[in-house]
C-alpha cells in the first residue's frame, strides 16, 4: 500500500530525516517511535505532502506521490492528523466532520457545488457514522469549540476518517487523554484496522504502542535504528539505549 524508500530531508546543515524506508501493508498498524527530535514528525510531514523531501520516494499503491501537494495525497486516500491538534471549531462536531465528507467529493470549481446543499442527509449520515466510529456520536450536536483538548484529538481522527481514507497517519492520537479514554480510543483504532484501514502511528505512550502495533519502526537521529514486532523492539538493546540513554562505563 504505502511504501517509502530512502526518504531524506535536510534543513540547512541538519539531516532531520536520513534515508528512512518502510512499508505499510493493508490493515496494518505500524508504529513509528523514537526520542524527541528523532525525525518522526518530519517523516509524517514528508509522507503527507506538508513538506517536500530532499531525496527519496513515497508511493501509494505503486503511484509515486512525493512532491504532490497535501490535498492531492489526501484525495488518493492518505490522510493525516496533526501533533498540535487541528479541528474546525466554529460549528458542531457533526459539521466539523461533515467537512471531511465533503472534502472527498468533487471540485469546487463546478458551479453545481455553488447551490446550497441544505440538510444533506447523505453527508450527515456519513459524518455521523465517522463520529460513531470514534465514539463521539453522543456529542454530535455540541459545539466543537467546547470539546476538551483530549477529545479534540479524537474529533480530528473522526474528521480524517470521514474522508474514507485507506491509510491514516496518526500523530500522537493518545496525548492528553486519561487512562480510560486511552483504552477506548485504542480499541477504536484497532477496529479501524479490522475495517481494513492501514495506520502509521506516532505515539509516545509505549504501553499503547506495544499493544496496538503489528510492527514498529524506531527512529533516532533521522535514521531507522530498529524494525520489528513489539516484542523484538522491547528487547532491542539499541532501542533501550536510545530511549533511556547510556550508562557511562557500563556497556562501553
Amino acid at each position: 500500500m504505502l511504501e517509502i524508500n530512502n526518504l531524506s530531508k535536510i534543513f540547512g546543515s541538519l539531516k532531520a530525516v536520513d534515508g528512512v524506508s518502510l512499508k505499510l501493508g493493508r490493515g496494518e498498524i505500524r508504529g513509528l517511535i523514537g526520542p524527541n527530535g528523532s525525525g518522526k514528525s518530519t517523516t509524517m510531514n514528508l509522507i503527507s505532502g506538508s513538506l517536500q523531501p530532499s531525496a527519496g520516494d513515497v508511493s501509494l499503491d505503486g503511484v509515486r506521490v512525493e512532491g504532490f501537494p497535501s490535498h492531492r495525497i489526501a484525495r488518493l486516500g492518505l490522510v493525516r492528523t496533526f501533533q498540535l491538534t487541528r479541528v474546525y471549531t466554529s460549528g458542531t462536531l457533526l459539521e466539523a466532520v461533515a467537512l471531511g465528507v465533503r472534502a472527498a467529493q468533487g471540485s469546487a470549481w463546478n458551479p453545481k457545488r455553488w447551490i446550497p446543499t441544505g440538510e444533506n442527509a447523505k453527508i450527515n449520515i456519513a459524518a455521523f457514522e465517522a463520529l460513531e466510529r470514534m465514539g463521539l456520536a453522543s456529542r454530535a450536536n455540541e459545539p466543537a469549540g467546547n470539546l476538551p483538548g483530549g477529545l479534540r484529538r479524537v474529533l480530528s481522527i473522526a474528521t480524517a476518517l470521514a474522508t474514507r481514507p485507506r491509510i491514516l497517519l496518526l500523530d500522537e492520537p493518545l496525548a492528553g487523554l486519561h487512562a480510560t479514554e486511552k483504552a477506548e480510543v485504542s480499541t477504536r483504532v484497532e477496529q479501524l484496522r479490522a475495517d481494513g484501514i492501514s495506520i502509521l502511528l506516532v505515539e509516545h505512550d509505549m504501553k499503547s504502542v506495544m499493544r496496538l502495533c503489528d510492527r514498529i519502526t524506531v527512529l533516532n537521529f533521522g535514521r531507522v535504528i530498529a524494525e520489528g514486532t513489539p516484542e523484538e523492539i522491547g528487547r532491542h538493546p539499541e532501542v533501550i539505549k536510545a530511549y533511556l540513554g547510556r550508562k557511562r562505563n557500563s556497556d562501553a
Partner: protein
C-alpha cells in the same frame, strides 16, 4: 532552593501539570525525567513565566516567582536553556552572549562572566564574530548554555539539552555544565528524556508521569530502580 508546590496547568482542556511538587537545591544538579508528554517542558515554561499556572506556587529562595513577568524572573536568577535553543540565528556569537546579559548591566561582572564562558567553551571564544545560525548543533547548544549563564543565574534550567546531539557531544556538554555548577555554586534543573544521561550527573532526581511526580530520590537510586524502565517502555 527552588520550590514548586501543587502546580496545575491546563492547555485547551488537557492537564499538562496535575499537582506537581518538587524542590531543587541551588547548589546541586537535579534531574526531572519522564517520557514525552509527561509535562516536563510545560514545567519549564511555567517556572519561567511563559505560561500561566491555574494554581500552585513557585518560589526561589522563598521569593514567589509565579505571577512575575518573564524578565523579572530572569532578574531573580532563573535562566532557561530552552528546547530548540531559541538562539538569534543571524546575530553573532558575541551578540547572542551579550543579549543573555540583558538583566545584568554591570560591565565588569559582565566581562568576567564572558571570560569564564569562553574558558568553559573555547570554541565560542574563537568564533565570536560568526553568525549563530551557521554553527553546528553542538556549538549552538554551547552558545545556548553560554547565553543563559551570562544572566548570572542562581538556577539554570535545561530543557532537553540532548535533543539532536550526538552522544559524545551531549555527554561533554552536560559534564561541562555540571562542573561549572559545582565551581560557581549554581543549581541546575535538568529535564531530559535521555534519563540515564541526566541521572549520571544529577544528585537528586524526580520521575514524572502525567503531570505529577511519580517517584523521587537520590539519582543513583533512581537509576537502578526497575520502575523507571517500566515507566518508559511500558
Amino acid at each position: 532552593m527552588l520550590e514548586a508546590k501543587d502546580l496545575v496547568l491546563e492547555y485547551g482542556g488537557v492537564r499538562a501539570l496535575n499537582g506537581m511538587s518538587f524542590t531543587a537545591s541551588t547548589e546541586q544538579v537535579t534531574a526531572v525525567v519522564g517520557s514525552n508528554g509527561a509535562g516536563k517542558t510545560t514545567l519549564m515554561n511555567a517556572i519561567c513565566g511563559l505560561v500561566k499556572l491555574a494554581s500552585g506556587e513557585i518560589r526561589l529562595d522563598g521569593a514567589k516567582l509565579n505571577g512575575l513577568a518573564p524578565d523579572d524572573i530572569v532578574r531573580k536568577g532563573i535562566s532557561l536553556v530552552p528546547e530548540g535553543r531559541e538562539l538569534f540565528p543571524k546575530l553573532s556569537v558575541l551578540e547572542n552572549l551579550l543579549l543573555g546579559a540583558t538583566v545584568r548591566p554591570d560591565p565588569t561582572r559582565r566581562r568576567k562572566t564572558l571570560e569564564r564562558i569562553f574558558e568553559l567553551f573555547p570554541v565560542l571564544a574563537n568564533r565570536q564574530k560568526q553568525q549563530a545560525g551557521r554553527m553546528s548543533g553542538g556549538e549552538q547548544q554551547m552558545l545556548a548554555f553560554g547565553r543563559a549563564l551570562m544572566a548570572q543565574p542562581k538556577m539554570l534550567l535545561l530543557d532537553e539539552p540532548s535533543i539532536g546531539l550526538a552522544p559524545m557531544v551531549e555527554e561533554q556538554l552536560i559534564s561541562a555544565i555540571s562542573d561549572y555548577s559545582r565551581e560557581s555554586g549554581i543549581g541546575v534543573l535538568i529535564v531530559e528524556q535521555n534519563a540515564m544521561l541526566a541521572l549520571e550527573y544529577a544528585q537528586h532526581a524526580y520521575v514524572v508521569e502525567q503531570g505529577r511526580v511519580a517517584l523521587s530520590g537520590p539519582a543513583a537510586e533512581i537509576r537502578d530502580d526497575p520502575a523507571v524502565i517500566a515507566s518508559y517502555l511500558g
